[in-house]
Symmetry: C2
Subunit: 270 residues, 2 copies
C-alpha cells in the first residue's frame, strides 16, 4: 500500500486507529475454544466487527508462534482473510525482526511475499544492513522501533552521547536517511507523548505507529497534540482495550463499541 | 541444559563449535528438492554427519519463516530430531526476538515450551522487561546481542556516552545484572575480535556466542586469544562455511570434513 492510499483511507474513515490482533488463547471468550481454530475465529469476528472503524490491523507474531505450527496457520488465515475481504486495510506484522543482510532478506520474504503483509516492525540494534533488505520491496514498509512504550525503554534508548543526543534520536535521524516517508515509519510509544514534539523536529513527515494508548496508560489527545502532521502521520494502536473489552458471546460487539469510541474521538482531530 | 553440562560436553568433544542450520532452499543440493521436506532432509544429513564434532546447533528462524507454515514444520522437525537423537547437543533458536513483557513471554513459550530449544537469541533495544520473561524458564538461556558481526553494527552499537562508554558496553554491563552466567550469554561477532579483551573486563565469566568466523572473515585464533576464559566460555558459530561447502550428493561428508578441520583446531585450544 502507498502512503497516498493510506492517507486517503484515514480521511475517508475519519480514523487512524490500528487494532492489535494479539489473540491470546487464555483471554479469548471461552465459547471460541470449541472452534477448530480458536485464534482465527476470534480474529475473524473482531475484524468483521471493526474493519470500518480502523485503518490497520497489527497481529503480533509472538501470540501465534507460541502455538507453533498451529499458531502460524492461524496467522496465515488471519492475514489472508484481511487481504481478501478488506484489501483497503493496512496490515502490520508486529514481528520486531532484524538480522544480518542475507537473513533479514529471508524475514522480508516471510512477511512480504509469503504472508503478504504491507509492513513489518523491525528492531534497529543491528543497523543499516539489517533494515535495508526490507526496503527493497515496492510499496512495502519498515516500521522501525524508535522509542518504545515499555519501562525497559529507559535502559538504553535514552543513553546520551557527548553532545546530548539520545540513542532513540540517533536511530530516527540515521534511519530517515535510509528510506523516505513513503516506505519508513517509526514506533513511538504513547507513554512518551511529551517527547513527540522533539521527535517531530527530526522526522516531521514520517508516519508514527503509536502503541501504549489505553492499557499501557498513554493519552490519545496528547499524542495528537504533539505528534500529528499535515497528513495526520499517526497510526494509534490499541490491542487489549478493544479486543479484550468483553469475553462473552457479545465480545465482538463490545469491541466494536470500544473502537467506535476511539474512532469518534479521532474524527474530531481530522 | 546447565552450564556445567555444556562445559563438560565441550571438554569431552574437544570442541566449542556451533553449526548454524541456515537451510536455504536456493543453496541446498538439488537432489534434495525431490524430498517431501527438503529443508529438514538437508538438516538431518548435516546433523547426522557432524553431531560428534560440534556442541551446538543454531537454526536461524528467518530461513524457516520464509516458507511460512511449511518452513515452521521443517524447523519443528529439526529441533525434535536433535532433541530426540542427540540430547547432549545445546540448541539455539537464532530468532533475535524482544518485545514488551507480556509479548516476550509468548516468544519464550514459543521457543522453550513449544519447540523446546535450550536458548534463544534476543535483541536488547527494548531493555530489561523485554528480556526478563525469557529468564523465568529453568535451565533455559538468553543469548543477548552484544556486538554483532555485521557492518551495520557501527551504526549504533559504538555510540559513546559522555564518559566514553559505548552502547554495546552498556548493554553487556547492564544485562549481566539481570541474570548470571548460568542463564545468560552474549553474541559478540568474530569480526570484532580486537574488542574481546575489553569485553572480557566487563563480563569475564559469561559464555559468548561468536558468529562471523569463516564466511564473514573473522579468525578463530584471534577469538580464542582474546575471548577464552577458564570454562572456555566460547561457542563459535559457522554456518555457510560448513553446510554449503559442497552441494553434490556428498555434501554431508564434505560438511563433516569442514567441521572436523575446525574441531581439530579447537582441540588444540582446550
Amino acid at each position: 500500500m502507498t502512503r497516498e492510499q493510506l492517507v486517503s483511507e484515514i480521511r475517508r474513515k475519519k480514523s487512524f486507529l490500528c487494532i492489535g490482533l494479539d489473540a491470546d488463547i487464555t483471554k479469548i471468550p471461552q465459547h471460541l475454544l470449541e472452534e477448530e481454530d480458536p485464534l482465527f475465529a476470534f480474529n475473524k469476528e473482531i475484524i468483521d466487527a471493526t474493519h470500518n472503524l480502523c485503518v490497520a490491523y497489527k497481529p503480533n507474531t509472538a501470540f501465534y508462534e507460541a502455538h507453533g505450527v498451529k499458531g502460524w496457520i492461524s496467522l496465515e488465515k488471519t492475514i489472508n482473510y484481511i487481504n481478501k475481504k478488506y484489501p483497503e486495510i493496512f496490515t502490520i506484522a508486529d514481528a520486531k525482526r532484524g538480522d544480518i543482510g542475507n537473513t533479514s532478506k529471508m524475514y522480508a520474504k516471510a512477511f512480504f511475499e509469503d504472508l503478504k503483509f504491507d509492513s513489518v516492525t523491525v528492531a534497529p540494534y543491528m543497523g543499516s544492513d539489517s533494515v535495508k533488505p526490507f526496503l527493497e520491496f515496492r510499496n512495502k514498509w519498515v516500521i522501525l522501533l524508535g522509542l518504545t512504550s515499555n519501562q525497559g525503554a529507559y535502559d538504553f534508548q535514552f543513553i546520551k552521547d557527548a553532545d546530548g543526543k539520545e540513542l532513540n534520536q540517533h536511530v530516527m535521524e540515521k534511519a530517515s536517511a535510509w528510506a523516505n516517508e513513503e516506505q519508513l515509519m517509526f514506533v513511538v510509544g504513547a507513554t512518551k507523548a511529551e517527547y513527540l514534539s522533539e521527535i517531530r523536529k527530526v522526522i516531521p513527515n514520517h508516519f508514527l505507529l503509536v502503541p501504549g494508548v489505553g492499557a499501557q496508560g498513554g493519552s490519545l489527545s496528547d499524542v495528537v497534540q504533539f505528534g500529528k502532521n499535515k497528513d495526520i502521520g499517526l497510526l494509534i494502536n490499541s490491542s487489549r482495550g478493544i479486543i479484550y473489552a468483553d469475553n462473552s458471546i457479545e465480545f465482538a460487539n463490545i469491541a466494536r463499541a470500544k473502537a467506535l469510541e476511539i474512532q469518534q474521538e479521532m474524527g474530531g482531530y481530522i
